[in-house]
Protein backbone atom coordinates (compact mmCIF):
# COMPACT_ATOMS: atom_id res chain seq x y z
CA UNK A 1 0.00 0.00 0.00
CA UNK A 2 2.76 2.41 0.93
CA UNK A 3 4.49 1.77 -2.35
CA UNK A 4 1.33 2.44 -4.29
CA UNK A 5 0.69 5.67 -2.48
CA UNK A 6 4.29 6.82 -2.82
CA UNK A 7 4.16 6.10 -6.53
CA UNK A 8 0.88 7.95 -6.99
CA UNK A 9 1.66 10.82 -4.69
CA UNK A 10 4.94 11.87 -6.21
CA UNK A 11 7.93 13.05 -4.22
CA UNK A 12 6.47 16.41 -3.16
CA UNK A 13 2.95 15.35 -2.24
CA UNK A 14 2.83 12.42 0.15
CA UNK A 15 -0.42 11.42 1.79
CA UNK A 16 0.87 12.45 5.21
CA UNK A 17 1.14 16.02 4.01
CA UNK A 18 -2.62 16.10 3.58
CA UNK A 19 -3.61 14.37 6.80
CA UNK A 20 -4.34 17.57 8.67
CA UNK A 21 -5.92 19.39 5.73
CA UNK A 22 -9.54 20.50 5.91
CA UNK A 23 -12.22 18.87 3.80
CA UNK A 24 -12.37 22.03 1.70
CA UNK A 25 -8.65 21.84 0.93
CA UNK A 26 -8.87 18.13 0.17
CA UNK A 27 -11.82 18.63 -2.15
CA UNK A 28 -10.09 21.47 -3.93
CA UNK A 29 -6.97 19.35 -4.38
CA UNK A 30 -9.05 16.38 -5.51
CA UNK A 31 -10.58 18.58 -8.18
CA UNK A 32 -7.00 19.12 -9.45
CA UNK A 33 -6.57 15.32 -9.40
CA UNK A 34 -4.11 15.32 -6.52
CA UNK A 35 -4.56 11.71 -5.57
CA UNK A 36 -2.93 11.80 -2.11
CA UNK A 37 -5.50 14.40 -1.06
CA UNK A 38 -8.29 12.15 -2.26
CA UNK A 39 -6.76 9.20 -0.41
CA UNK A 40 -7.06 11.21 2.82
CA UNK A 41 -10.73 11.85 2.04
CA UNK A 42 -11.22 8.12 1.56
CA UNK A 43 -9.52 7.38 4.86
CA UNK A 44 -11.61 9.99 6.60
CA UNK A 45 -15.04 8.81 5.41
CA UNK A 46 -14.76 5.21 4.23
CA UNK A 47 -15.99 3.73 7.51
CA UNK A 48 -19.02 6.05 7.70
CA UNK A 49 -20.04 5.28 4.13
CA UNK A 50 -19.44 1.56 4.40
CA UNK A 51 -21.25 1.27 7.75
CA UNK A 52 -24.35 3.01 6.38
CA UNK A 53 -24.38 0.94 3.20
CA UNK A 54 -23.92 -2.24 5.21
CA UNK A 55 -26.76 -1.29 7.55
CA UNK A 56 -29.21 -0.22 4.82
CA UNK A 57 -28.46 -3.26 2.69
CA UNK A 58 -28.79 -5.49 5.78
CA UNK A 59 -25.21 -6.65 5.49
CA UNK A 60 -25.26 -7.45 1.80
CA UNK A 61 -22.06 -8.73 0.22
CA UNK A 62 -22.11 -5.82 -2.25
CA UNK A 63 -21.74 -3.25 0.55
CA UNK A 64 -18.04 -2.66 -0.04
CA UNK A 65 -18.51 -2.38 -3.78
CA UNK A 66 -21.24 0.23 -3.33
CA UNK A 67 -19.09 2.20 -0.88
CA UNK A 68 -16.26 2.21 -3.43
CA UNK A 69 -18.57 3.38 -6.20
CA UNK A 70 -19.62 6.27 -3.99
CA UNK A 71 -16.01 7.45 -3.74
CA UNK A 72 -15.43 6.85 -7.43
CA UNK A 73 -18.33 9.16 -8.22
CA UNK A 74 -16.71 11.83 -6.08
CA UNK A 75 -13.31 11.27 -7.69
CA UNK A 76 -14.71 11.56 -11.19
CA UNK A 77 -16.45 14.81 -10.40
CA UNK A 78 -15.53 16.48 -7.09
CA UNK A 79 -17.30 19.67 -8.20
CA UNK A 80 -20.60 17.98 -7.38
CA UNK A 81 -19.99 18.82 -3.72
CA UNK A 82 -20.60 22.55 -3.58
CA UNK A 83 -19.73 23.04 0.08
CA UNK A 84 -17.07 21.13 1.94
CA UNK A 85 -19.14 21.02 5.11
CA UNK A 86 -21.79 19.08 3.19
CA UNK A 87 -19.31 16.41 2.07
CA UNK A 88 -20.26 13.72 4.57
CA UNK A 89 -23.96 14.26 3.91
CA UNK A 90 -23.32 14.10 0.16
CA UNK A 91 -21.39 10.83 0.47
CA UNK A 92 -24.07 9.23 2.65
CA UNK A 93 -26.86 10.41 0.33
CA UNK A 94 -25.14 9.08 -2.79
CA UNK A 95 -24.32 5.80 -1.06
CA UNK A 96 -27.86 5.26 0.20
CA UNK A 97 -29.34 6.16 -3.19
CA UNK A 98 -27.04 3.61 -4.79
CA UNK A 99 -28.24 0.95 -2.37
CA UNK A 100 -31.86 1.76 -3.14
CA UNK A 101 -31.24 1.82 -6.90
CA UNK A 102 -29.31 -1.42 -6.91
CA UNK A 103 -31.85 -3.35 -4.91
CA UNK A 104 -34.79 -1.88 -6.73
CA UNK A 105 -33.39 -3.51 -9.85
CA UNK A 106 -32.12 -6.62 -8.11
CA UNK A 107 -34.01 -7.46 -4.89
CA UNK A 108 -31.86 -8.03 -1.85
CA UNK A 109 -31.03 -11.65 -1.30
CA UNK A 110 -30.71 -11.43 2.43
CA UNK A 111 -30.86 -14.72 4.22
CA UNK A 112 -31.30 -13.17 7.64
CA UNK A 113 -34.28 -11.13 6.58
CA UNK A 114 -36.11 -14.27 5.59
CA UNK A 115 -35.92 -15.62 9.11
CA UNK A 116 -38.55 -15.06 11.75
CA UNK A 117 -37.81 -13.85 15.25
CA UNK A 118 -40.01 -16.57 16.72
CA UNK A 119 -37.96 -19.19 14.90
CA UNK A 120 -34.79 -17.76 16.36
CA UNK A 121 -35.98 -17.91 19.96
CA UNK A 122 -33.80 -20.16 22.08
CA UNK A 123 -35.07 -23.06 24.13
CA UNK A 124 -36.54 -23.06 27.62
CA UNK A 125 -33.44 -21.42 29.05
CA UNK A 126 -34.30 -18.18 27.28
CA UNK A 127 -32.03 -15.69 25.56
CA UNK A 128 -28.73 -16.51 27.18
CA UNK A 129 -26.32 -15.67 24.46
CA UNK A 130 -25.93 -12.05 23.57
CA UNK A 131 -25.09 -13.09 20.02
CA UNK A 132 -28.57 -14.60 19.71
CA UNK A 133 -30.15 -11.31 20.74
CA UNK A 134 -27.88 -9.48 18.38
CA UNK A 135 -28.92 -11.70 15.48
CA UNK A 136 -32.59 -11.29 16.32
CA UNK A 137 -32.23 -7.50 16.38
CA UNK A 138 -30.41 -7.56 13.02
CA UNK A 139 -33.23 -9.60 11.58
CA UNK A 140 -35.85 -7.20 12.91
CA UNK A 141 -34.00 -4.21 11.40
CA UNK A 142 -33.68 -6.02 8.07
CA UNK A 143 -37.44 -6.47 7.96
CA UNK A 144 -38.11 -2.72 8.06
CA UNK A 145 -39.07 -0.94 4.86
CA UNK A 146 -36.06 0.68 3.13
CA UNK A 147 -36.78 4.28 4.08
CA UNK A 148 -37.50 3.43 7.71
CA UNK A 149 -34.29 1.40 7.91
CA UNK A 150 -32.34 4.27 6.42
CA UNK A 151 -33.78 6.80 8.87
CA UNK A 152 -33.01 4.49 11.77
CA UNK A 153 -29.48 3.86 10.49
CA UNK A 154 -28.70 7.56 10.16
CA UNK A 155 -30.13 8.65 13.49
CA UNK A 156 -29.53 5.65 15.70
CA UNK A 157 -26.39 4.04 14.29
CA UNK A 158 -24.66 7.05 12.71
CA UNK A 159 -25.69 9.30 15.61
CA UNK A 160 -26.79 12.05 13.27
CA UNK A 161 -29.18 14.77 14.38
CA UNK A 162 -32.68 14.68 12.94
CA UNK A 163 -31.87 17.80 10.95
CA UNK A 164 -28.71 16.29 9.42
CA UNK A 165 -30.44 12.99 8.71
CA UNK A 166 -33.35 14.81 7.08
CA UNK A 167 -30.86 16.62 4.82
CA UNK A 168 -29.23 13.36 3.80
CA UNK A 169 -32.61 11.83 3.00
CA UNK A 170 -33.80 15.07 1.35
CA UNK A 171 -36.84 15.16 3.61
CA UNK A 172 -38.37 17.62 6.01
CA UNK A 173 -37.55 17.05 9.66
CA UNK A 174 -41.22 16.21 10.29
CA UNK A 175 -41.16 13.55 7.59
CA UNK A 176 -37.98 12.06 9.03
CA UNK A 177 -39.45 11.97 12.54
CA UNK A 178 -42.53 10.26 11.15
CA UNK A 179 -40.33 7.63 9.49
CA UNK A 180 -38.43 7.11 12.73
CA UNK A 181 -41.60 6.74 14.76
CA UNK A 182 -42.95 4.17 12.32
CA UNK A 183 -39.63 2.33 12.32
CA UNK A 184 -39.59 2.08 16.12
CA UNK A 185 -43.23 0.99 16.24
CA UNK A 186 -42.61 -1.64 13.59
CA UNK A 187 -39.51 -2.92 15.41
CA UNK A 188 -41.50 -3.30 18.62
CA UNK A 189 -44.11 -5.27 16.71
CA UNK A 190 -41.52 -7.50 15.09
CA UNK A 191 -39.66 -8.16 18.31
CA UNK A 192 -42.97 -8.78 20.10
CA UNK A 193 -43.04 -10.29 23.56
CA UNK A 194 -39.59 -11.75 22.98
CA UNK A 195 -38.22 -8.21 23.16
CA UNK A 196 -38.57 -8.04 26.94
CA UNK A 197 -36.82 -11.37 27.38
CA UNK A 198 -34.05 -10.25 25.08
CA UNK A 199 -33.69 -7.13 27.17
CA UNK A 200 -33.33 -9.20 30.34
CA UNK A 201 -30.62 -11.25 28.68
CA UNK A 202 -28.80 -8.07 27.65
CA UNK A 203 -28.97 -6.64 31.15
CA UNK A 204 -27.77 -9.90 32.70
CA UNK A 205 -24.85 -10.02 30.30
CA UNK A 206 -23.60 -6.63 31.48
Amino acid sequence: MGAILALRAGPEAPVTRWQSATDAALLEASARHVEPAFVVLIQRYQRDVYRLVWRISAGHADSEDIAQETFLRLWLNPAQVREAKALKGWLLRVASNMVMDRYRRKPMLNIEAAEDIADMAPGPDGWRELSQVSRAVDTAIAQLPDRQRMALALVHFEQMSNIAAAEVMELSVDALESLLARARRRLKEILGPEGKEMLLAVEKAK
Partner: protein
Amino acid sequence: MNKQQEPLNDVELAKLLATASSPPQLKGFEEKLLSRMASMRPVGKQRDNVVPFVRPVAINPKPARPVSRVIGIAAALAASLIIGILISDNAGVSELVDGVTGLQTSGQVADFAPAGLDDIGTVDGENQS
Protein backbone atom coordinates in the same frame (compact mmCIF):
# COMPACT_ATOMS: atom_id res chain seq x y z
CA MET B 1 -50.55 -7.41 32.91
CA ASN B 2 -47.31 -9.28 33.21
CA LYS B 3 -44.44 -6.83 32.87
CA GLN B 4 -42.77 -9.06 30.30
CA GLN B 5 -45.88 -8.89 28.12
CA GLU B 6 -45.83 -5.10 27.92
CA PRO B 7 -44.47 -3.69 24.71
CA LEU B 8 -40.96 -2.28 24.69
CA ASN B 9 -40.62 1.43 25.30
CA ASP B 10 -38.22 3.61 23.32
CA VAL B 11 -35.44 3.39 25.90
CA GLU B 12 -35.65 -0.40 26.00
CA LEU B 13 -35.70 -0.55 22.24
CA ALA B 14 -32.58 1.63 22.11
CA LYS B 15 -30.84 -0.82 24.46
CA LEU B 16 -31.72 -3.69 22.16
CA LEU B 17 -30.62 -1.76 19.07
CA ALA B 18 -27.26 -1.23 20.73
CA THR B 19 -26.73 -4.99 20.52
CA ALA B 20 -27.12 -5.02 16.74
CA SER B 21 -24.17 -6.39 14.81
CA SER B 22 -21.48 -4.08 13.49
CA PRO B 23 -20.18 -4.38 9.96
CA PRO B 24 -17.00 -6.39 9.52
CA GLN B 25 -13.71 -4.55 9.25
CA LEU B 26 -12.85 -3.28 5.84
CA LYS B 27 -9.83 -4.96 4.35
CA GLY B 28 -7.95 -3.48 1.43
CA PHE B 29 -10.64 -0.90 0.71
CA GLU B 30 -8.15 1.78 -0.35
CA GLU B 31 -6.07 -0.51 -2.52
CA LYS B 32 -9.10 -1.77 -4.40
CA LEU B 33 -10.46 1.72 -4.81
CA LEU B 34 -7.14 3.10 -6.02
CA SER B 35 -6.81 0.37 -8.62
CA ARG B 36 -10.33 1.18 -9.83
CA MET B 37 -9.46 4.87 -9.91
CA ALA B 38 -6.38 4.15 -11.98
CA SER B 39 -8.57 2.75 -14.72
CA MET B 40 -10.66 5.89 -14.84
CA ARG B 41 -9.82 9.36 -15.95
CA PRO B 42 -11.27 12.07 -13.75
CA VAL B 43 -12.86 15.12 -15.28
CA GLY B 44 -11.51 18.47 -14.18
CA LYS B 45 -14.71 20.36 -13.96
CA GLN B 46 -18.41 19.80 -14.14
CA ARG B 47 -19.26 18.30 -17.44
CA ASP B 48 -21.25 20.61 -19.57
CA ASN B 49 -24.53 18.93 -20.30
CA VAL B 50 -25.37 21.40 -23.05
CA VAL B 51 -24.85 19.95 -26.49
CA PRO B 52 -23.05 22.45 -28.72
CA PHE B 53 -25.14 23.69 -31.57
CA VAL B 54 -23.72 22.75 -34.92
CA ARG B 55 -24.76 24.92 -37.80
CA PRO B 56 -26.47 22.71 -40.37
CA VAL B 57 -24.64 22.49 -43.63
CA ALA B 58 -26.73 22.52 -46.80
CA ILE B 59 -26.06 19.49 -48.93
CA ASN B 60 -26.52 21.40 -52.21
CA PRO B 61 -25.96 25.03 -51.39
CA LYS B 62 -27.44 27.49 -53.91
CA PRO B 63 -24.72 29.13 -55.99
CA ALA B 64 -24.50 32.88 -55.98
CA ARG B 65 -26.44 34.53 -58.86
CA PRO B 66 -24.18 34.86 -61.85
CA VAL B 67 -23.60 38.36 -63.26
CA SER B 68 -25.04 37.31 -66.62
CA ARG B 69 -28.35 36.42 -64.98
CA VAL B 70 -28.54 39.80 -63.28
CA ILE B 71 -27.76 41.54 -66.56
CA GLY B 72 -30.49 39.52 -68.28
CA ILE B 73 -33.06 40.55 -65.68
CA ALA B 74 -32.03 44.20 -65.97
CA ALA B 75 -32.25 44.07 -69.78
CA ALA B 76 -35.70 42.51 -69.64
CA LEU B 77 -36.83 45.22 -67.25
CA ALA B 78 -35.47 47.98 -69.51
CA ALA B 79 -37.09 46.43 -72.58
CA SER B 80 -40.42 46.23 -70.87
CA LEU B 81 -40.18 49.90 -69.95
CA ILE B 82 -39.37 50.91 -73.56
CA ILE B 83 -42.19 48.80 -74.96
CA GLY B 84 -44.50 50.28 -72.43
CA ILE B 85 -43.62 53.80 -73.54
CA LEU B 86 -43.97 52.92 -77.27
CA ILE B 87 -47.35 51.26 -76.99
CA SER B 88 -48.76 54.02 -74.86
CA ASP B 89 -49.76 55.68 -78.21
CA ASN B 90 -53.44 54.85 -79.13
CA ALA B 91 -52.69 53.50 -82.59
CA GLY B 92 -49.99 51.41 -81.33
CA VAL B 93 -52.34 49.97 -78.77
CA SER B 94 -54.99 49.21 -81.39
CA GLU B 95 -52.52 47.45 -83.63
CA LEU B 96 -51.20 45.54 -80.76
CA VAL B 97 -54.73 44.41 -79.85
CA ASP B 98 -55.39 43.33 -83.45
CA GLY B 99 -52.21 41.41 -83.54
CA VAL B 100 -53.12 39.64 -80.39
CA THR B 101 -56.78 38.90 -81.25
CA GLY B 102 -56.41 38.26 -85.03
CA LEU B 103 -59.41 40.56 -85.78
CA GLN B 104 -59.76 44.02 -87.39
CA THR B 105 -61.32 45.36 -84.29
CA SER B 106 -59.45 48.62 -84.39
CA GLY B 107 -60.60 49.38 -88.02
CA GLN B 108 -64.19 48.60 -87.18
CA VAL B 109 -64.04 50.87 -84.25
CA ALA B 110 -62.51 53.68 -86.39
CA ASP B 111 -65.10 53.28 -89.18
CA PHE B 112 -67.95 53.25 -86.80
CA ALA B 113 -69.79 56.47 -87.44
CA PRO B 114 -71.87 58.08 -84.81
CA ALA B 115 -75.21 57.53 -86.48
CA GLY B 116 -77.23 59.01 -83.75
CA LEU B 117 -76.93 62.59 -85.04
CA ASP B 118 -78.28 61.73 -88.52
CA ASP B 119 -81.20 60.02 -86.98
CA ILE B 120 -81.95 63.09 -84.98
CA GLY B 121 -81.89 65.21 -88.20
CA THR B 122 -84.21 62.79 -89.90
CA VAL B 123 -86.59 62.91 -87.10
CA ASP B 124 -86.55 66.70 -87.16
CA GLY B 125 -87.34 66.73 -91.01
CA GLU B 126 -90.14 64.34 -90.67
CA ASN B 127 -91.72 66.46 -88.06
CA GLN B 128 -91.52 69.57 -90.22
CA SER B 129 -93.16 67.78 -93.12
